[in-house]
Amino acid sequence: MSLAKPDAQDLSKKQKLAVGMGVIGLFILVLALFNLDLPNTSIFLTVSLLLISVGTILFANDAYLTKLKGIKNDGVWFKSISSRGSLGWITGIVLTSFYVVLYFYEGLLGAGVDGAANTGLIGLFDPLSQLLSGRPASQWFVYGTLYTIAILAFGYKFILKYRHNRYEQIRTISVMFFQLAFAFLIPEFMYVMNSDLPYYDLKNVWPLNYYNFEQYRINSFINGGTIGMVMLIFGIVSIFVITPILTFKFGKRWYCSWVCGCGGLAETAGDSFRHLSDKSQSAWKIERWVIHSVLVFVVLMTTAVIYTYLGYDPDKYWLTRDVFLFSVAGFLTLIFALVMIFKRNELGKDARYGAIGYFAIIIALIAIHLFSSKTKLFIFEAETLRTSYGFLIGAIFSGVIGTGFYPIFGNRVWCRFGCPMAAILGFQQRMFSRFRITTNGGQCISCGNCSTYCEMGIDVRAYAQKGENIVRSSCVGCGICSAVCPRGVLKLENDSMKGRINPTEVLLGNDVDLMDLVNQK
């Protein structure tokens, strides 16, 4: 297109003022970061966090409350921040650098080494950490606080933006609640109650919290008395009972866009970037390979890590290395067999890939059994496998790329390409769930709003214009496709499994005989 990008609408005076407040709030953090000696850190911290929150709130008020209710996407592709313009790139680079420092150079943030007092940015957060749990802050406390504030402030903005849409509002209140209570406050309070317990965000389910079954955590759970055991059992029940039941009833959205913290940030602070996800078919192909490879990786890594700290002697403890390996293999075989028997047709060509993944894991498990010593798996230390996963997936993928690249690749890069939890939930959603997005007969006009605003890069229109329901493993059920549809074509629903997947050739509204002729093969 030869057209130059039209001017973005200027910000109103109030919006400029609000942005200014937020920037000053951030600037205080930057000052602290550069170790400027701020007197009375609690006041500066309060002022900074208040300025950031109030700035966002005032901005949202002026942007949305001054207009009638409805879809608010005017100028999205003209604004520099939301169309990969210079502001977008700068934001991306700043965020990415922040994550690199956070994960690998926490010293730069002012973390005190060997019991020394915190300085800099982390020092600034000491008063709040002392208030909540009576200990000095860490870089993760700083991160958690900023993360929570981002979800709360931008959640407020999102609620105003969609104030005509109760699904969006309730969903957003839910992610705001789970972030504030489960991810931020409860772990701090639990530390106050029992400082032996490991940090545990109860809504974080394995394999998203891939570290949950590492030896040091298992030890602290076991040493943590009844509460510790309850937490450990809850962690296991979450995986095998709670998650499958909820996913069957509601689809993976119950987690990904209602509960999850990564999803929470993506849906609130990341909302302005949702349209930047790649919708091409090639991106879909890459997505499926990458996310399922991560899943295989995390299953093997976790199995190996647990394997190495289990014993050989069944008299000491019933769960020995061999019992454990055989249960993992048995469980996977059971799932594989059930899917192949009952869902083979729905899988189509994908069945082959599923089989490859399955056999890769089983062979690896056998190899572990045959060739491993007390600490080694083949030639690798289990510890090496664990740290590589932590580095590659936990830090680089979910943090640096996943969030740092929001303004470039969209807000769900991690959830779409990387999250092994999303892969498991998605698999169940595709195979065994009542959830689908229903297409409303022949009403689609192929406009493309649904596809454009799908953060997961699903080409929603491709289904809608065929009158076909959308049953995709990656769909997180955010409901935005339905919201932006100008013709009321899409509806997120939980209904019976029968007729959930319904490809049609000729759409409703045409000659009944023709529809019969063509659609019923």
């Binding site: 297109m1 057209l3 039209p6 001017d7 609408q9 009638l68 209710k69 409805g70 879809i71 996407n73 005017d74 100028g75 999205v76 592709w77 003209f78 604004k79 005509h164 849409n165 109760r166 699904y167 309730i170 091409s280 078919q281 229903t438 409303n440 007969g441 022949g442 009403q443 006009i445 192929s446 406009c447 493309g448 709003n449 454009t452 229109r461 491709a462 214009q465 409901g479 339905s482 919201a483 932006v484 100008p486 013709r487 009321g488 509806k491 997120l492 629903e493 050739e505 000729v506 759409l507 409703l508 509204g509 045409n510 000659d511 009944v512 005989d513 023709l514 529809m515 002729l517 063509v518």
Partner: protein, 434 residues
């Protein structure tokens, strides 16, 4: 191999091509003067508003066409030689065909207003119109005010577009209320108020007299017929309906009226030449439909139908129950079955109307006053299920049944407030007082 040539790459032509490919191995060529690839015309407004980029309006990726062996030719057809089965494209190229399908859509109406061809005066139909609007009205410095002439679906879309860039809009509507040739009074009046709430200067019962030019041949102002008032403006949008885009056919033997004349099989008077979509004109209207249906869905359905005929299963164009949809600024509209406005309805058609107090939601249900048969529904601000109404229309349900089962048809997102109870009690009250 039989060569099917389709003129026009809109929804009708592309649907036809896709379905022919599904059914056969025939050679397929689509000729378009407008764009290289198919795009959704109804989505052009969102490009100007910054909701989407132009490429997002294209439903298929570029590799789709090669993969499905659908040849795309960019060019303007000047003449159709039906004796030799040859098209003349771009003055010098020739393309021969075995079967020809005309699917060239519409063009904006111009009713001979003085000044209608000035710079800054335009319609809103094609990609070229969108490009022109981007040039004529990039912002409210260049375009200090725009005047829109014609109160239909395109007119209100254009108003919404300009509004999104804070360009003041004066909206001239000939009728006494917005689109009241189609919408019943209660709905039309609600939309009038909604338009005004968006700070659009809506002028009802107002006609355009002339468009005045500045020294450079650009529009400077318009004069209103009724009052003689002069309104200065930089852009005039002509949105008084569309008519078939068939000027290039006039030099051929193909019979035309307002559109290309076709029978129920979508065949023209010339063998192996067909017409579908906006440009096709039925010899006689089908049931309550118009002879020319300029609607996305009917274009698509004609494409689905004609593919059967071309691939050896000759069938009539026999659309099912009428449905349509639109969006008026923030208010979505859907219709199933037939609801006519007071102007055009017949005596037997009676209406039940319900409107929510927030003035953004209402429904009108049409029924036969003697038999109580349900005839159709218009719904504003409440989404309803196509399949449910299609079934009820086929089953000839009466209005009592529909009103009592309305909740089954609800298609609003989860957690939305429901209004079926309010609607039913209003219906029962009205029936008792009537």
């Amino acid at each position: 191999m039989e060569h099917i040539v389709i003129i026009g790459n809109g929804i009708s032509g592309v649907t036809l091509a896709r379905h022919i490919r599904k059914l056969s191995d025939k050679k397929i060529t689509i000729v378009s003067a407008e764009t290289d690839y198919f795009f959704s015309r109804t989505a052009l407004m969102y490009v100007y508003m910054g909701h989407m980029k132009f490429e997002h309006t294209q439903p298929y990726e570029d590799w789709f066409w090669r993969k499905n062996r659908i040849e795309l030719v960019r060019g303007y057809v000047h003449h159709i030689d039906t004796d030799n089965k040859v098209l003349k494209i771009n003055e010098r190229d020739f393309l021969s065909y075995d079967k020809l399908v005309i699917a060239t859509g519409s063009k904006p109406n111009k009713f001979g207003w003085p000044g209608q061809d000035l710079l800054g005066v335009q319609g809103l139909y094609s990609k070229q119109d969108l490009d022109a609007l981007e040039k004529n009205a990039p912002n409210n410095d260049v375009c200090k005010r725009a005047v829109i002439v014609g109160g239909g679906l395109i007119g209100i879309e254009l108003a919404e577009m300009l509004n999104s860039r804070h360009i003041p809009v004066t909206f001239l509507v000939r009728e006494s209320s917005f689109w009241n040739g189609v919408l019943p009074q209660g709905e039309s009046a609600m939309i009038n108020r909604h338009i005004k709430n968006h700070h659009i200067d809506l002028r009802l019962s107002t006609n355009l007299k002339e468009i005045k030019s500045d020294d450079n041949g650009r529009v400077k102002s318009i004069i209103i017929e009724e009052t003689g008032e002069e309104i200065s403006c930089d852009v005039v949008g002509l949105t008084a309906g569309v008519s078939p885009n068939i000027d290039f056919i006039k030099s051929s033997n193909i019979e035309t009226g307002r559109g290309v004349k076709v029978n129920r099989y979508l065949e023209t008077n010339i063998p192996d030449v067909y017409a579908i979509g906006d440009c096709a004109e039925q010899h006689e209207a089908i049931e309550n439909r118009r002879p020319i249906e300029a609607v996305w869905y009917t274009g698509r359905m004609m494409g689905e139908t004609l593919a059967q005929t071309i691939c050896g299963n000759r069938i009539q164009y026999k659309p099912g129950h009428w449905f349509n949809s639109a969006k008026f600024l923030d208010i979505e509209y859907q219709t199933y079955g037939w609801v006519f406005s007071e102007k055009s309805k017949q005596d037997h058609e009676q209406h039940f109307h319900w409107k929510h107090e927030d003035d953004t939601k209402c429904i009108t249900v049409a029924y036969h006053k003697d038999t109580n048969e349900f005839l159709g529904i218009n719904t504003f601000g409440i989404r309803m299920r196509h399949e449910t109404f299609d079934t009820w229309l086929t089953e000839h349900r009466d209005i009592d049944y529909v009103m009592n089962h309305l909740i089954e048809a609800n298609f609003d997102p989860e957690f939305y407030k429901h209004f079926e109870k309010d609607i039913l009690s209003a219906y029962n009250n009205q029936l008792q007082t009537a």
